[in-house]
């Protein structure tokens, strides 16, 4: 029931937000046909033909309905700048963005949770370093991290390629390592900090103290009681940050000139290619919503109390 309700809510949000995005593009100053002829003087007949071709004379709601039904069938229309099918453009770009986000997510989980656990378990200097690192790491904008990594490891040491996203699995991994690191850094910093706090709270909780008092070996207490229980709050934070990667990815893609959705979006925004912006916006909102939904469902699965609380 809970799953169904959430799915319906997501569909509702998607329909309303696609309406919002569509009307925003509709209301934007500058008419598409002027954009298409790009300042050349053309006869009214040609203009009319263009308007006809792109169905610009139809009433607003008719246009919205046509667009929405086409999108649902996988047809996103044509790009205004180079006449390519938007669907094809997106399909070419999607793998890069997905790999980038997946790799970043992996780094966040390994680096963030790993460092957080170390800092939570060890006191003293290790803890201080991780704490300081997370305060600073959080404040580093992704584009600045991208620039630093690029100049040190690509230009300076030559260990990694400067741009492009590579072909084949290993080559792609090699190309995407630095961008994924840059993208993951601020989130990993936050996750490390939250994990540290959660671990410390669990360590001081009565059941852990009690287990130690019963003579259970410290390693087992740590593994079975402390880490397991502290992963509950950590899992939501990780989820929120993975969803957030979608928006962050376009800055990093642009900095590394990767051919992902983000770079496509930025150039489309710069050139006012409404068809492309519209399509990417909807896809990003959908991706964002789906990841958020999955995170909530996962959380409900880990902690059975959540589902009942939402349903009430």
């Amino acid at each position: 029931m809970y799953v169904l309700r959430r799915l319906l809510a997501l569909v509702g949000v998607l329909i309303v937000s696609s309406f919002l995005v569509f009307s925003a593009m509709y209301a934007a100053p500058g008419s598409p046909e002027n954009f298409l002829v790009q300042g050349r003087t053309v006869t009214p007949e040609v203009l009319a033909a263009i308007r006809e071709q792109y169905s610009l004379d139809d009433p607003f709601f008719v246009r919205f309905w046509n667009w929405l039904t086409n999108v649902l069938q996988g047809d996103f229309g044509q790009s205004l700048t180079n006449r390519q099918e938007v669907g094809d453009l997106l399909a070419n770009r999607l793998p890069t963005t997905l790999s980038l986000v997946a790799l970043s997510a992996l780094i966040i989980v390994i680096l963030g949770i790993g460092l957080g656990i170390i800092a939570g378990v060890r006191d003293g200097i290790v803890d201080k370093i991780v704490l300081l690192g997370s305060t600073v790491g959080f404040a580093v904008p992704t584009f600045f991290a991208a620039l630093l990594l690029m100049s040190v490891f690509s230009v300076g040491l030559g260990w990694f390629p400067v741009f492009g996203s590579g072909t084949g699995f290993l080559d792609r991994l090699w190309h995407l390592t630095l961008p994924a690191l840059a993208l993951a850094l601020p989130s990993a910093a936050v996750v490390a900090r939250i994990t540290r706090t959660a671990i410390r709270e669990e360590r001081d909780s009565e059941h852990s103290v009690m287990a130690i008092a019963r003579g259970v070996p410290a390693r087992i207490v740590l593994r079975r009681h402390v880490i397991r229980n502290s992963m509950l709050p950590v899992s939501t934070i990780v989820g929120v940050h993975i969803a957030g990667l979608i928006a962050g990815s376009f800055v990093v893609e642009y900095a590394f000139t990767l051919d992902g959705l983000g770079t496509l979006l930025v150039t489309a925004v710069q050139r006012k290619d409404f068809a492309v912006v519209q399509a990417i916006a909807i896809i990003l909102v959908a991706g964002f919503g789906i990841i958020n939904l999955l995170v909530d469902l996962l959380y409900a699965a880990i902690d059975p109390r959540v589902g009942t609380r939402h349903a009430s």
Binding site: L14, S17, F143, V191, G248, V251, V285, F288
Partner: protein
């Protein structure tokens, strides 16, 4: 004041000091900056640090120190717009929905849910497509994206206060809702609003700098930290890292200082961020 110092601790006071220095630099930029930030000279390109140019010059021969000072202005004004607009609208929406409850509350909540569906930067970029690029468009759009976070936190706290006797009793005496809300409810959520604004300021600074980096925020030749990072990208690859590096460090230090102050004030929860 004494309580504030005690709460901040020594490191916190250093952070407050850093923020004050940045603000002073921005305010006094016309007085302190030795050169015009937008005018350079071809013969003075890529100079190292010297008595004449404290931090050297960039690829157009402009004084980097002056550009950092002037850049502090747009880098602070942008987030200020975001934070003020977010705080005002977030508070008004939250308090309205708490006071009336029922249909009004669910209506406002639905609208906020819808805004939650858009990643912040995406919303800003959509606004830029429609209204054109520039600092004010970017800042206002980002503010709209932040409103649901702020409103949610204030709403949940105000909701607890709503049924306490100090709110209920003036209501029974027939005092008007807006008066009670402003006189009694608002002061009790005010600390939350201020803490949230401090945390959001850092987020806004990073995201606005990112938009300027993408060429969608502050436009050249104006000085702005995010713009300077992207502007210095080519110089960096030629072996002159000063511009990008210094501007980036300015962002990192300011955001880290603000984040630390915010954390001491009440933590990220106050900004409505789960993290």
């Amino acid at each position: 004041m004494k309580r504030f110092v005690k709460r901040m601790g020594p490191l916190g006071m250093v952070a407050v000091g850093i923020v004050l220095v940045v603000v002073l630099g921005a305010v006094l930029a016309p007085v302190i900056a030795p050169y015009d930030p937008t005018v350079g000279s071809v013969t003075q390109r890529y100079l190292g640090p010297s008595a004449e140019h404290l931090l050297g010059t960039d690829q157009a021969g402009r004084d980097i120190f002056s550009r950092l000072l002037w850049g502090a202005r747009s880098s602070l004004v942008g987030p200020l717009i975001v934070v003020v607009v977010t705080a005002v609208f977030g508070t008004v929406l939250a308090l309205t929905s708490v006071w009336f409850g029922g249909l009004v509350d669910s209506f406002i909540s639905r609208i906020l849910d819808l805004l939650f569906a858009f990643p912040n930067l995406l919303l800003a970029m959509l606004a830029i497509v429609v209204f054109g690029s520039g600092l004010s468009t970017a800042a206002l759009a980002l503010a709209v994206a932040y409103i649901p976070y702020t409103a949610r936190v204030i709403r949940s706290t105000a909701l607890r206060e709503r049924n306490l006797p100090y709110i209920r009793s003036p209501q029974l005496q027939g005092i008007a809702g807006p008066v009670i809300t402003v006189r009694h409810l608002l002061p009790n959520v005010a600390p939350l609003i201020i803490t949230g604004a401090t945390i959001n300021f850092g987020f806004a600074m990073i995201e606005l700098a990112a938009l300027s980096f993408l060429g969608l925020g502050v436009q050249p030749p104006q000085a702005d930290w995010g713009l300077m990072v992207s502007n210095g990208q080519q110089s960096l690859q030629k072996g002159y890292p000063a511009e990008s590096l210094l501007a980036g460090l300015c962002i990192v230090i300011t955001v880290a200082a603000l984040g630390y102050v915010g954390e001491k004030l009440g933590g990220r929860a106050a900004a409505g961020r789960k993290a």
